[in-house]
C-alpha cells in the first residue's frame, strides 16, 4: 500500500514536470482495495482486468515498477513500449489484462476471460474491477446477464470512490446503493469496506474462495474514496467537493489506519515503521529515475504490432 502511494506521488511529480502527459489517474486513497483483493488470488494464474486507474493493480501483481513508470512517461522500456501510457498497462504473464480507457467497456472482456477459464475447465477466477461511474453503463448489465446465465467465475468489483469523474454518486445513480445492482441477474451481491486493508483482505478471500468453489459470478460494491482528483489534469476538486469533506475522508486513510494498528498491537515499532517509510520513499524515487533512463520509442516502431503478421498502408 505504502509503495503504491509513494509510486503514485512520483507519477504526479512526473506529470507536473511534463514527463507524463494525456490522462493519468492515481489510486491515492484506494490502496487498501486492490491490495486486499489482489493479495487474495493465485497471482499469475487468476486473471485481473480493470479500467484506466490501473497502476496499483499491475504493481500488486508483480509487474516491474520501472516498466510501469516507463510506460507512464511514454518510454521504450514501458510495459507496452510506450504505446499505451498510464491508462493501458498490461502484463498477461502475471495475469494482468489491462488497463482500459472506456468506462465500463472492459467489463465484458473480463467476463470473456472467465468464459475461457470455464471453457477449459480451469478453476481460475477473474477480478473484474470498475469504478462507480461504470455502474451506469449498459454493456455492464449485458455482461452481468451473460455471466450469470453461463455461470462464469467472474467477480465484478465496483470501486466506489463516490465520484464518477466530477459527478457525485447521488447525482449519477438513481439508487446510490450500487451493491444491489447484481440482484436482478440472480447473482450474489454485497457491499464491503475498502478502507480497512485487513477487513478487505478477509472479505476478498471469502468471496474469491466462494466463486472458485461454486463457479458463479459475484457482484461486490467496495466503499472507498480517492483523495486524488479524477485525473492528474483535475486541478479543481472544489468544483465537486469541499475541503472539509476531504478532511473527514482523510481520517479514514487506509495507510494511517494500518500504521496505527501495527503500533497499537505491538506488531511493529514506530522506528521500524519509519525505516520502512524512508526506504519505500527512496525506492519510489529510484523507480522514476530509472524509468527516465529508458529512451523514447524509435519512430519506425509506430507501425509495429498493429497486426501479428503485416503492417497497414504506410505514410500520410
Amino acid at each position: 500500500m505504502l509503495f503504491i502511494r509513494r509510486f503514485e506521488e512520483q507519477c504526479n511529480i512526473a506529470y507536473r514536470a511534463g514527463l507524463a502527459g494525456g490522462y493519468m489517474h492515481t489510486y491515492i486513497g484506494m490502496e487498501a482495495l486492490a491490495s486486499g483483493w489482489i493479495n487474495s488470488i493465485r497471482k499469475g494464474y487468476d486473471y485481473v482486468i480493470t479500467a484506466y486507474r490501473d497502476h496499483a493493480h499491475a504493481l500488486l501483481l508483480g509487474t516491474d515498477a520501472v516498466a510501469v513508470m516507463a510506460e507512464i512517461i511514454g518510454r521504450k522500456g514501458g510495459t507496452a513500449g510506450g504505446k499505451g501510457g498510464s491508462m493501458h498497462i498490461y502484463d498477461p504473464e502475471n495475469g494482468f489484462y489491462g488497463g482500459w480507457g472506456i468506462v465500463g467497456g472492459h467489463v465484458p472482456l473480463g467476463a470473456g476471460l472467465a468464459y475461457a477459464a470455464r471453457y477449459r475447465n480451469e478453476d481460475r477466477v477473474v477480478l473484474n474491477f470498475m469504478g462507480d461511474g461504470a455502474a451506469n453503463q449498459g454493456v455492464v448489465y449485458e455482461t452481468l446477464n451473460m455471466a450469470s446465465l453461463y455461470d462464469l467465475p467472474c467477480i465484478f468489483i465496483v470501486e466506489n470512490n463516490e465520484f464518477a469523474m466530477g459527478t457525485r454518486l447521488e447525482y449519477h445513480a438513481a439508487d446510490p446503493e450500487l451493491w444491489k445492482r447484481g440482484q436482478p441477474y440472480n447473482m450474489k451481491c454485497e457491499r464491503v469496506d475498502g478502507m480497512d486493508v485487513i477487513q478487505m483482505r478477509k472479505d476478498a478471500q471469502r468471496i474469491i474462495d466462494w466463486v472458485r468453489e461454486n463457479q458463479k459470478p459475484y457482484w461486490v460494491e467496495v466503499m472507498t474514496y480517492r483523495y486524488a482528483g479524477h485525473g492528474a489534469a483535475d486541478n479543481d476538486r472544489q468544483l465537486y467537493r469541499t475541503k472539509e469533506e476531504e478532511e473527514v475522508a482523510w481520517a479514514r486513510d487506509p495507510i494511517a489506519r494500518l500504521r496505527k494498528y501495527l503500533i497499537d498491537n505491538n506488531i511493529m515499532s514506530e522506528e521500524a515503521i519509519e525505516a520502512v517509510e524512508a526506504e519505500t520513499e527512496a525506492e519510489a524515487l529510484a523507480v522514476l529515475e530509472k524509468a527516465k533512463e529508458s529512451p523514447f520509442p524509435d519512430t519506425d516502431e509506430v507501425y509495429d504490432n498493429i497486426y501479428t503478421d503485416m503492417t497497414p498502408e504506410k505514410g500520410h
Binding site: Y90, Y97, T143
Partner: protein
C-alpha cells in the same frame, strides 16, 4: 486436384466453420439464435446437434446469446485474449453497430496497445447489405466502416469456394477478422473442394474472375456477381471487360487491381454501400493516385444511392446498383 462438390455459398461457409471446429477445440461459435433456432439465415443449421446438446441451458461451443451485441462481442474478445478462437455471428451486420465500441475501441486495438503481447484471434461474421425489403435499419453495408480501422482485417468473398477458404483462413488468423456476407449470395452455387480440409484461400489477394483488355470492373461480394453479368453483356457489344474480385478489403491487394488497370486503362469500381464515402471511394482514390498515367478515362464509381434503404420493393431495387447502373458507367468511360 481435390474432388469437387457443388455447394451453395451458405453450405460452403458452414463447411469451413465445421472443419475449423473439428481441427481446433479452441474454436467456438456464439451469436443470437445460432443454436436451437439454427441461425436466422441458416448458416449454422444442425451445428448444435453436431457439437452440443439441444436441451442444455447453454452450450459453450455453440453458444446462443441474448440479444446484446456489445456484451457478447466483448465476451468473445476477452475469450480470444485468453487464447480461444471465437467465431461471432451477427444476425445482420446492421446489428454490429451496437458493438462498434467493443470491436473498434477494444478488439482492434488490443494488439497495438499491448505492443504485441496480447493477440486477439476472433472472427466476426454475418450478412451485410440489403436482403429483400428489410428496409432502413436492417440493410447496412458495414464493410467500409470496418475497413477504415487499423487492426482489423475485412473480407468480402463473392463465391462459395472463396467463402469456404476465406472462412478457414480467418479462423486461423491471429488477428480480428470481419467476414462480410451479402444475403443475396447465400443461395448461389459453385464448386468447392470436397475432402481437402487443408484448403484455404489467402487473405489479402484479389482474384481475376474474367480476363479482359478493355475495362476493369472492380468489386467485391455480391457486386462481383453483377460485374460478371455485365461483362457478358458487354462482350455482345464487343467490349472485353476484366472482372477484378477484390475479396479482401483490408489488407487490399492493390498490386492485382493496378495490374489490371494498367492493362485495360479504364476502371469502374462497384459497391453496394452508400456511394459517398463507401469503400469503393477508397479503391477509386488509390487507382487515381497511383495509376494516373495509365488511365484513358476517369475512374468511375457505382455505389448505392445515398438514402436510408426504403421498404417498397421498387424503391429498394432503385437504391442497389444493378447491371444497368454498371453498364451506364462503362459507357461513360469510353
Amino acid at each position: 486436384m481435390p474432388n469437387m462438390i457443388e455447394l451453395s455459398y451458405r453450405e460452403a461457409l458452414q463447411k469451413g466453420i465445421v472443419e475449423e471446429m473439428e481441427r481446433d477445440q479452441n474454436v467456438f461459435l456464439m451469436g443470437e439464435d445460432i443454436g436451437r433456432y439454427q441461425g436466422t439465415f441458416k448458416v449454422t443449421r444442425g451445428l448444435v446437434e453436431k457439437f452440443g446438446q439441444r436441451d442444455n441451458r447453454y452450450n459453450l461451443r455453440i453458444l446462443d446469446t441474448p440479444i446484446t451485441e456489445a456484451g457478447f462481442a466483448g465476451i468473445a474478445t476477452g475469450a480470444a485474449m485468453a487464447g480461444l478462437r471465437p467465431i461471432v455471428e451477427f444476425m445482420t451486420m446492421s446489428f454490429s453497430i451496437l458493438a462498434l465500441d467493443q470491436i473498434i475501441n477494444h478488439t482492434a486495438k488490443i494488439h497495438y496497445m499491448t505492443n504485441g503481447v496480447v493477440k486477439c484471434p476472433i472472427v466476426f461474421r454475418g450478412p451485410g447489405g440489403a436482403a429483400k425489403q428489410l428496409s432502413a435499419q436492417h440493410s447496412h453495408s458495414m464493410e467500409g466502416w470496418y475497413a477504415h480501422v487499423p487492426g482489423l482485417k475485412v473480407l468480402a468473398p463473392s463465391t462459395p469456394a472463396d467463402v469456404y477458404g476465406m472462412m478457414k483462413s480467418a479462423v486461423r488468423d491471429d488477428n480480428p477478422v470481419i467476414l462480410y456476407e451479402n444475403p443475396g449470395l447465400y443461395a448461389i452455387k459453385g464448386m468447392v473442394p470436397e475432402d481437402d480440409a487443408s484448403f484455404t484461400v489467402p487473405i489479402g489477394k484479389a482474384a481475376i474472375l474474367r480476363e479482359g483488355k478493355d475495362i476493369s470492373l472492380v468489386g467485391y461480394s455480391r457486386m462481383t456477381q453483377i460485374n460478371l453479368e455485365v461483362a457478358e453483356l458487354l462482350a455482345k457489344d464487343g467490349i472485353d471487360a476484366e472482372v477484378v474480385d477484390v475479396r479482401s478489403l483490408l489488407p487490399l491487394d492493390t498490386e492485382t487491381i493496378y495490374a489490371s488497370v494498367k492493362k485495360t486503362h479504364r476502371a469502374v469500381v462497384v459497391y453496394e454501400d452508400w456511394r459517398s464515402g463507401g469503400f469503393g471511394a477508397e479503391i477509386a482514390a488509390r487507382i487515381g493516385e497511383d495509376c494516373f498515367d495509365d488511365l484513358d478515362a476517369p475512374v468511375l464509381r457505382v455505389g448505392g444511392l445515398n438514402v436510408p434503404m426504403p421498404y417498397a420493393r421498387n424503391l429498394e431495387l432503385q437504391c442497389i446498383p444493378d447491371a444497368d447502373d454498371v453498364l451506364a458507367a462503362v459507357r461513360k468511360a469510353f
